[in-house]
């Protein structure tokens, strides 16, 4: 009766655990945050960039393009959409399409604050000789085509601070204006930029924003569509929304297909609906346990993890297949299980070694997949071991499709003949791989991105159109607070101005250009003479020039007001497009394990001629203000460090598997026998991947590790001494079906558009299949040796 009591406990524990998992899952937050697949522990600079990608202004920008149709019609759509979107201030912080209304606000801000913003305002700038120069220049300028406009502002701004500010920002690339709105350089697309209030990772909010954009576009109804116009959107938020939709669709579709295929296989194999249901029990338990474990371990469950769950369907069902196939009439299920349990357990442990390498890697995303698989497999094995035998009715036998047995056995026996050809193929593959050693790897960090290549292309195109060229170099200034970061930017800007003057640099942007540090603002205020002095200087400067007396009295008034006005704050920029600039160039750092909290100013550089010289300038120890960052170098370094990390963990995983085999099998010869087909499978898989035009990414490495982890199950069963010919035949059949289900799980993922799932799925499907075949070839025994040796 202890047996029965133990069974009851097993069932109760199982049921309790399932309820627990269900409760955890019900409270789980599912995400599609793309940064989960970006590095977790990069350098502080990289951390800033990743943080920007997650919730910075950059993550809130949606690039919108309308193409197809005449420029006039496109401009009309652009204006209509902008007006419509501006009606939703709760969703959009700003909508820019180049219309003057938005630009006017910027000009207005520059105009009102010209004396605080202009770097030219310094002691002596309003002296009589300096004013004289300015007035002579103006006398010439007021006659030019722009003169009519200049005459409007001349009495208030004789030193031309507004023009200086506008010229300063002119070098900054911006879209072309046609028909009053932004257009791509070729005039084929009208462009808009919307800034959402919600961060890029808030996918629900991003989706609402996207729906509003689509509605605003369709709002014109027949007009827009009849003109053949097409809406294009891009940006981090769009990626997140699309990825989530795609992962959702993939995960759902693949789960349904995988379940149907596996169920169909079970039905064909056992011709019993009851066996089918029993076979799915470990699978369902494993999936629930996996999701619950990730939810507890990571706080959220990534959509990609669910997509990866498909593989668990194919893996977890194997254990039930091994069990069912081993059951022979007259032997209780628990006894049949006891016979294969050591092999099953060892197979599980090797799989865990493989997935543990993912768990330890620097990718939070991969870590989720690892934890999910480990928890899922452990749950599935435990359910197969302790729950499934209890659920089987007494005297349960399964009628496996025995017709396959002899054929499979014969095939396996004859596979031996391929031993030498296989060794030859493997050697050739090794030679090919070593010949191509230098070009095995994809060096592009983008290859890790879960964003589809077509989306990336569109994004690059729109970014180019909008005049936001890819930033490669930027100077980063870290400081304790925003004002100190701005002051640091001003110091850096002095160096950069010198570099621009020497033509070593085409230009740069700085947040301090739009929001000077309070020290700079105070210095500029101090440089403005008292009204009486300024009037006297003007009188002297005007002598002999035809300007009317008292013409510049408005200037005296404005200058006096500027000298005493409250300094500009970040809030002073609200409502202008410049606010967006400042927010993207001056960001708050959240404190983390490796960096203190504070503020970071970023100064993107254009047209860098000599990066090394710039770096030396900035490293000048007397005022160590900023650090030059080469983003390409950073991202390359990031990718390299990532790759070596994954390779290291994969090697550790592989070593762990070998040690595990050594401890369990206690024989070098047997370990070598188990490993040889796996090694051959990994090598040939690598060759096949390269031959089909893949550059290897770290996801392929992970896939190869899983080939070893999963394939070792087959090799172990092959290597295992069979009690009799019947058991060997049953083992072969169960291996064949276990392999087919694995192929179903991983093979389906190879059809996913998510690069990670595609790479791992394809690699494991090929590798697992080869592992089985190679195990038959290299470990298979001749028919005569099938009986237990004496």
């Amino acid at each position: 009766m202890t047996m029965a009591r133990a069974s009851r406990w097993a069932i109760a524990l199982w049921a309790g655990a399932l309820v627990g998992c269900a409760i955890v899952i019900a409270r789980t937050e599912f995400t599609a945050d793309m940064s989960a697949f970006l590095p977790r522990s990069p350098t502080p600079v990289q951390q800033i960039l990743v943080q920007q990608l997650r919730d910075g202004v950059v993550s809130r920008l949606i690039l919108i393009a309308v193409d197809g149709g005449t420029p006039a019609a496109l401009a009309q759509t652009s204006m209509r959409m902008a007006a419509e979107l501006r009606k939703h201030p709760a969703e959009f912080a700003a909508v820019n399409n180049g219309e003057d209304s938005a630009l006017d606000l910027d000009r207005e801000f520059l105009w009102r604050n010209r004396y605080l913003l202009s770097p030219a305002v310094a002691p002596g700038h309003f002296s009589a000789p300096a004013l004289r120069d300015a007035l002579e220049e103006n006398l010439q300028l007021i006659g030019s085509p722009a003169g009519a406009l200049l005459r409007r502002i001349l009495p208030q701004d004789p030193t031309g601070e507004l023009l200086r500010l506008i010229a300063q920002f002119e070098g900054v690339a911006r879209p072309e204006v046609r028909e009053g709105v932004w257009f791509s350089p070729d005039g084929s697309r009208a462009l808009l930029v919307a800034q959402t209030r919600a961060a890029g990772y808030d996918i629900d909010a991003q989706e609402r924003a996207l729906n509003l954009i689509r509605a605003a576009f369709a709002g014109g109804g027949a007009a827009a569509t009849s003109a053949g116009q097409q809406l294009l959107v891009s940006g981090p938020g769009v990626f997140s929304v699309n990825s989530r939709a795609r992962i959702k669709a993939d995960a759902l579709r693949f789960s349904v297909i995988a379940t149907a295929l596996v169920a169909g296989l079970l039905l064909v194999l056992y011709r019993s609906p009851r066996v089918l249901l029993l076979g799915l029990v470990p699978v369902a338990s494993g999936v629930l346990a996996g999701v619950a474990a990730v939810s507890i371990g990571f706080g959220t469950v990534h959509g990609i993890t669910l997509g990866f769950g498909v593989t668990l369907i194919g893996e977890a069902v194997d254990y039930a297949i091994y069990l069912f196939t081993q059951i022979t009439p007259g032997t209780p299920p628990a006894d049949s299980l006891a016979q294969i349990w050591p092999t099953l357990r060892l197979g599980l442990l090797t799989s865990i070694c493989g997935f543990a390498a993912m768990l330890l890697s620097g990718f939070p995303g991969l870590g989720q997949l690892g934890l999910f698989s480990i928890a899922g497999l452990v749950a599935a094995v435990l359910v197969t071991r302790f729950v499934l035998p209890v659920l089987l009715p007494p005297g349960f036998t399964v009628r496996a499709a025995t017709g396959l047995g002899p054929g499979v056995t014969a095939l396996a026996a004859s596979a031996r003949r391929l031993r030498w050809p296989l060794i030859a193929v493997t050697v050739v593959c090794i030679m090919l791989l070593s010949a191509q050693r230098s070009q095995l790897w994809s060096d592009d960090l983008a290859s890790l991105s879960p964003i589809a290549a077509s989306e990336r292309t569109l994004d690059e195109q729109l970014r180019r159109d909008i005049g936001a060229p890819d930033v490669r170099y930027l100077v980063v200034v870290d400081a304790a607070d925003a004002d100190a970061a701005l002051a640091g930017s001003e110091k850096v800007a002095a160096h950069l101005d010198a570099a621009v003057a020497q033509s070593r640099l085409a230009g740069f942007e700085s947040p301090a250009a739009y929001l000077p540090s309070s020290a700079a603002q105070r210095a500029r205020q101090a440089a403005i003479p008292a009204p009486a002095v300024l009037r006297e200087n003007l009188r002297e400067a005007q002598r002999g020039l035809p300007f009317r007396a008292g013409l510049f009295e408005p200037f005296v008034r404005d200058a006096a007001a500027a000298a005493t006005q409250a300094p500009l704050q970040r809030a002073s920029l609200d409502g202008t497009a410049l606010a967006l600039k400042v927010d993207s160039l001056l960001v708050k750092r959240t404190a983390s394990a490796t960096t203190a909290g504070g503020w970071t100013a970023m100064l993107p550089l254009r047209g860098v001629v000599d990066a090394a010289a710039l770096e030396r300038d900035l490293k000048n120890p007397s005022d160590h203000a900023g650090v030059l960052i080469d983003l390409r170098r950073e991202s390359d370094a990031l990718y390299q460090s990532y790759r070596s990390e994954i390779v290291t963990y994969s090697l550790i995983g592989a070593v762990a598997i070998v040690l595990l085999l050594l401890v369990s099998l206690r024989s070098l010869r047997r370990v070598a026998a188990v490993l040889s087909p796996l090694a051959a499978a990994v090598i040939v898989t690598l060759c096949l991947l390269l031959a089909s035009g893949n550059a290897l990414t770290i996801f392929h490495i992970v896939g190869l590790l899983l080939v070893v982890a999963v394939g070792s199950n087959y090799a172990l069963f092959f290597e295992r001494e069979a009690a009799d010919a019947g058991q060997r035949e049953r083992t072969l059949v169960s291996l064949l079906f276990a392999n087919v289900t694995t192929l179903i799980g991983f093979g389906l993922l190879a059809f996913s558009k998510v690069p990670l799932l595609h790479a791992i799925g394809g690699t494991v499907a090929i590798g697992a299949f080869l592992s089985l075949v190679f195990s038959a070839v290299l470990i298979g025994r001749p028919r005569a040796a099938l009986a237990r040796p004496a």
Binding site: S144, P145, A148, R152, L154, V177, F547
Partner: protein
């Protein structure tokens, strides 16, 4: 009396047409491939106590290039080519290039002259309501801006000429400032 013929050949307007109108003026102007001449300009500006005089040369090449070289009182060079306006002030070593699309008012200004010289009625109509008075021998083209921004600056631009030659350009601004440019063509 200055006479400035922008056309080297001076192609005659079809004589059989009974009524001479703006379309014909434009058509005649559009046949001029290139022209070169001197200008004298006088500006009456409210902010100055005396008028501002300047002089220099003009070079036009059909259909889109116009060069204005001011020689006195200070050198200044304006080059209008397609959609770019280059301003150069040699004695200050300054040079600026404006994309006209970004400066609608400046664009309207330069287009009043360029489109007239090119006989580009379509472009002219985009910026101005154009009407013509007088006859082929002595015509006066009146341009009134359509864009409110331009209306705020310019009241009317009057261009006077004879056949396909432009002789005077007068700009009347809303706030009372005005300028008159008189053009003399170089000998053929």
């Amino acid at each position: 009396m200055f006479v400035f013929a922008l056309a080297a050949g001076g192609a005659a307007v079809a004589a059989e047409t009974p009524v001479w109108d703006i379309e014909q003026l434009m058509q005649g102007l559009s046949k001029v491939p290139a022209a070169k001449g001197k200008f004298v300009e006088r500006k009456y500006l409210a902010m100055l106590t005396a008028p501002l005089d300047s002089s220099g040369t003009l070079v036009y090449t059909a259909p889109g290039r116009l060069e204005k070289n001011t020689l006195a009182p200070k050198p200044e060079r304006l080059v209008l080519d397609q959609d770019k306006l280059t301003l150069e002030y040699p004695d200050r070593g300054q040079r600026r290039v404006l994309a006209l699309q970004n400066y609608p008012v400046v664009w309207a200004f330069v287009e009043s002259i360029r489109s007239t010289l090119a006989g580009d009625y379509q472009t002219l109509n985009r910026f101005y309501r154009a009407s013509v008075a007088g006859g082929e021998e002595q015509w006066r083209l009146s341009l009134k801006p359509v864009d409110p921004k331009m209306q705020a600056v310019v009241q009317e631009i009057r261009i006077g000429g004879s056949h396909n030659r432009v002789r005077t350009i007068e700009i009347l601004e809303t706030q009372g400032d005005r300028s008159v440019m008189t053009i003399t063509e170089d000998g053929p």
